[in-house]
Each structure stands twice: as C-alpha cells, then as structure tokens.
C-alpha cells in the first residue's frame, strides 16, 4: 500500500547573518507601506503619531 502521508525532513544552514537579512527585509516592508499610505492618505501620519503617542512615557499609567 502506498503511503499517503510521509514525514519529510529538511536540512538547511541557518546563520545569524541570514536571519538578520530577513529582519532587514522586514524593515524595508515598513518603508514600502509608508510609501503606499503617506502620499495618498494625508491624515495617516497624524493618526500613526496619535497611535504611537499612546505608548509615550507620559501616557503610560
């Protein structure tokens, strides 16, 4: 009988540098989101400032 499910193992070298490159790519995605939002939705930067303002030390109980 042919096995319907198989267990597959993948082996790959993963280094701190390779993970750091993925983190850098994530930061680029944040910049790209800004490029898509900020020029077309003018109030968005005010909103994000307000949102992150909630985390400012003076606003944390």
């Amino acid at each position: 009988m042919k096995a319907k499910h198989v267990l597959r193992l993948q082996f790959e070298d993963v280094t701190p540098q390779s993970v750091a490159e993925k983190s850098a790519a994530l930061k680029q995605l944040v910049n790209r989101r800004d490029d898509l939002m900020l020029p077309l939705f003018y109030d968005f930067s005010d909103y994000t400032a307000q949102f992150y303002g909630f985390f400012a030390p003076e606003n944390v109980p």
């Binding site: 082996f11 701190p16 540098q17 993970v19 989101r33 898509l36 994000t48």
Partner: protein
C-alpha cells in the same frame, strides 16, 4: 491514574548552565526577526484600521485588533483597492501583499524549526558540546524542519 511527566535530560554537565550557548547569536537574531514582524503587524493594523474608518480610525482599530497577520495584510490590500479604484499603484499593492506573505512564511518557518549546532545527523546533545567549551561554527548551524505531506 495520574499521568507521568516526562523531562528531557541534557546529560551530565561539567560547567554551570549559565555558560553561553553557541546558538545564542542565532537566538538573538530570531528574537529580532520576531519583534520586527510584530512591529510590521502593528503597522498593518494601523493602516487597515485607518482605511476602514478614516473619520474614526479608533473604530477601525477595534476591528483589526483580533486579526492575524495574513488577515491584516488582506484587509489593507482590499481596502486599498476599494479606496483607490483603478489607480496604477495597485500593482505595487499586490507586490507588497505578496512580499508580506513571504515574510510571514519565512518568519514562521524559522520560528517553528529545531536548531542544531553541529553536523546534521550528529546526535550529540548541544548542551554537552557547549559545556565542553566547543564553539559552533556558523556553517554548522543547521535547521531541521519536519512536515507532513499528503
């Protein structure tokens, strides 16, 4: 009948547990990666919430909070096309959406992976390696990934 707890032993130790693990640099980078993705997830939530209700973004935020990363990315993408129909920027949005998913998949794969310091197939526990003061060459860090495929 009481169930029996099972503990995994790392074998006999010859030095304190607080010794640096050779995988620590990798662990730090994995932490950074997770944190960066969380920031991005929050950013996506802000954008999706804002587009849902620009007059009262707080209402949009309430709707977005329980959503997964994928759902936030979809929400942003769909609302973008609703708000700006026919804009040439939609191609950028589609590419952005695709790259978001790729980033999350990469994070998930890296997070749900067993890391192994040393040649693959070497069953020597990592702890005994580092307790003997051996270093772990970058190239010897391996990822073991299991998956069930039908």
């Amino acid at each position: 009948m009481r169930s029996k707890s099972v503990y995994f032993s790392l074998g006999p130790t010859t030095s304190p547990v607080s010794d640096a693990d050779p995988l620590d640099p990798l662990h730090r980078e994995l932490g950074t990666l997770s944190t960066e993705l969380s920031h991005l997830e929050t950013y996506l939530g802000c954008a999706g919430g804002f587009l849902a209700n620009q007059k009262e973004p707080r209402i949009g935020d309430i709707l977005v909070v329980p959503l997964s990363f994928r759902a936030r990315a979809d929400t942003l993408s769909v609302q973008y096309s609703e708000r700006l129909p026919g804009k040439t920027v939609m191609e950028q949005v589609r590419a952005f959406r695709s790259d978001l998913q790729e980033a999350e998949d990469a994070r998930n794969t890296l997070t749900h992976t067993l890391y192994w310091c040393g040649p693959v197939g070497d069953t020597t526990p990592v702890a005994s390696n580092h307790n003997e003061g051996k270093t772990c060459p970058q190239t010897a860090i391996r990822r073991r990934h299991t998956s069930i495929r039908s």
